[in-house]
């Protein structure tokens, strides 16, 4: 993601390609809003923003196919199985069935879980499935809103690996999270959002 945009109450930030940026801040600061803005889910009322050099307000169609987002909700179909969900989300982005399979395995929702309907999964298993869908889509900009919530220790490790690999293959990651130790150790940069203002925090060691 290249470009700068004034965010939420006047601050400006920009993110370079290949970075993992952690958004932290108190409840209600505006992290979710910021991510939804980048995803084009919230309109921009004041100021401008651009992603990949395209304007957020007017050129969404060029941005979106390259963006993948995991919000508070998982965006899964309850009456489809894990494998069917990943296959649907993967193949609408043009993924082959081998890629879909790889994503399912990577997030540990293979084996018995593969053919379980999503309504019957536990919260963490749903979260893993949603992550698998995201992996299968191979986005260039990843927007993750509290991806750690609900994941167990193993799941968090898997998430780290997935994000590292994504960044290695050229993706950019924006994570909003309250798991500061976890996400902080992974991030290249930490940005604090407070009351709609954005400012840099010293990089983690």
């Amino acid at each position: 993601m290249i470009g700068g945009f004034p965010v939420l109450a006047g601050a400006t930030m920009s993110v370079a390609v290949g970075e993992i940026v952690l958004l932290q801040g108190p409840n209600g600061a505006g992290k979710t809003s910021l991510l939804r803005l980048c995803a084009g889910l919230l309109p921009i009322a004041r100021g401008t923003g651009s992603v990949f050099g395209f304007d957020l307000a007017t050129q969404r169609d060029s941005i979106r196919p390259r963006v993948g987002m995991l919000g508070h909700r998982n965006g899964l179909y309850g009456d489809l199985t894990v494998a069917e969900n990943v296959a649907f989300w993967g193949s609408t982005a043009g993924a082959t069935s081998a890629e879909v399979e790889a994503a399912v395995t990577r997030l540990g929702v293979d084996g018995r879980l593969r053919d379980v309907m999503v309504v019957k999964l536990s919260a963490g298993q749903k979260r893993r499935t949603a992550l698998a869908c995201l992996v299968a889509r191979r986005a260039e900009l990843w927007l993750l809103d509290e991806p750690h919530a609900g994941l167990d220790a193993a799941g968090r490790d898997e998430l780290d690996t997935v994000l590292r690999q994504a960044v290695d293959s050229g993706a950019t990651v924006l994570v909003a999270s309250h798991e500061l130790e976890r996400a902080g150790s992974l991030a290249h940069r930490v940005v604090e959002v407070v009351a709609g203002q954005v400012h840099e925090v010293e990089p983690p060691s």
């Binding site: 169609d61 941005i63 196919p65 987002m69 919000g71 965006g75 649907f88 193949s91 609408t92």
Partner: protein, 229 residues
């Protein structure tokens, strides 16, 4: 990835979910039946029922369509899948086509059952021309209804009070389909001595409606779901 392939994926997903949950056969069909019976109750006072039977079929279809549309978009908005589709930049025209096709398939299944029941019940002798007319009515009306339903379903998905907003928006719009399809079926079945030839002009209306909403919907669907919160 071609638009058409995505539309097929979307339609396939919707139909698979329907096959799993069996809402159409187990609930919508009996619902249509119950709707017709309730009309019969309310109208009992006047022996007008026989004459309005073709109308009843389409009324029941309309009300059933409303619940089918609601269900079709409940699937999408329950867990934020519609948002995810938007963010992922999945072609909205393809989503529109896909969901319309799935809806049309379900509607057609419903109508076939209702129409066959009606033909049997009223013991109408349907001439060959009548059958052709019936089939054509069914196809054109279904396309029109599916297009309108999907369009407004997308608009109302995720709003409070969508249970009421949807009928409020859809019912007035589909009034022409109700009238046209009713007249066409009347003349196919020869109710009230209406001639077969009188039915075909109504098909024209239905076809125009379907084409207009098919095209308009494909254009408007993207912007509409874009603005849904």
């Amino acid at each position: 990835m071609s638009r058409w392939r995505i539309a097929r994926l979307v339609a396939g997903k919707d139909l698979r979910i329907e096959r799993r949950s069996r809402v159409l056969t187990n609930q919508v069909l009996p619902f249509a039946g119950v709707t017709m019976v309730m009309f019969a109750f309310a109208l009992d006072a006047s022996n007008v029922l026989e004459r309005v039977a073709p109308g009843l079929i389409w009324l029941a279809t309309l009300f059933s369509m409303l619940v089918l549309v609601q269900r079709s978009f409940a699937i999408e908005s329950d867990d934020g899948a519609l948002d995810a589709l938007r963010v992922a930049g999945v072609d909205p025209v393809a989503i529109y086509w896909g969901k319309s096709i799935a809806l049309a398939v379900q509607l057609a299944a419903l109508e076939i059952v209702l129409l066959i029941a009606a033909v049997l019940l009223y013991g109408a002798e349907v001439p060959l021309g009548g059958i052709v007319l019936l089939a054509t009515t069914l196809v054109t009306a279904t396309c029109g209804l599916a297009c309108v339903g999907t369009l407004y379903g997308g608009l109302t998905a995720g709003f409070t009070g969508r249970e009421t907003l949807l009928p409020l928006l859809v019912l007035p719009v589909v009034a022409p389909v109700l009238i046209g399809a009713t007249r066409a079926v009347e003349s196919a079945l020869g109710t009230d001595g209406v001639a077969l030839s009188e039915g075909w002009p109504w098909i024209g209306l239905l076809a125009v409606f379907a084409v207009a909403f098919g095209a308009g919907g494909a254009l408007a669907f993207g912007p509409l779901i874009e603005e849904a919160t």
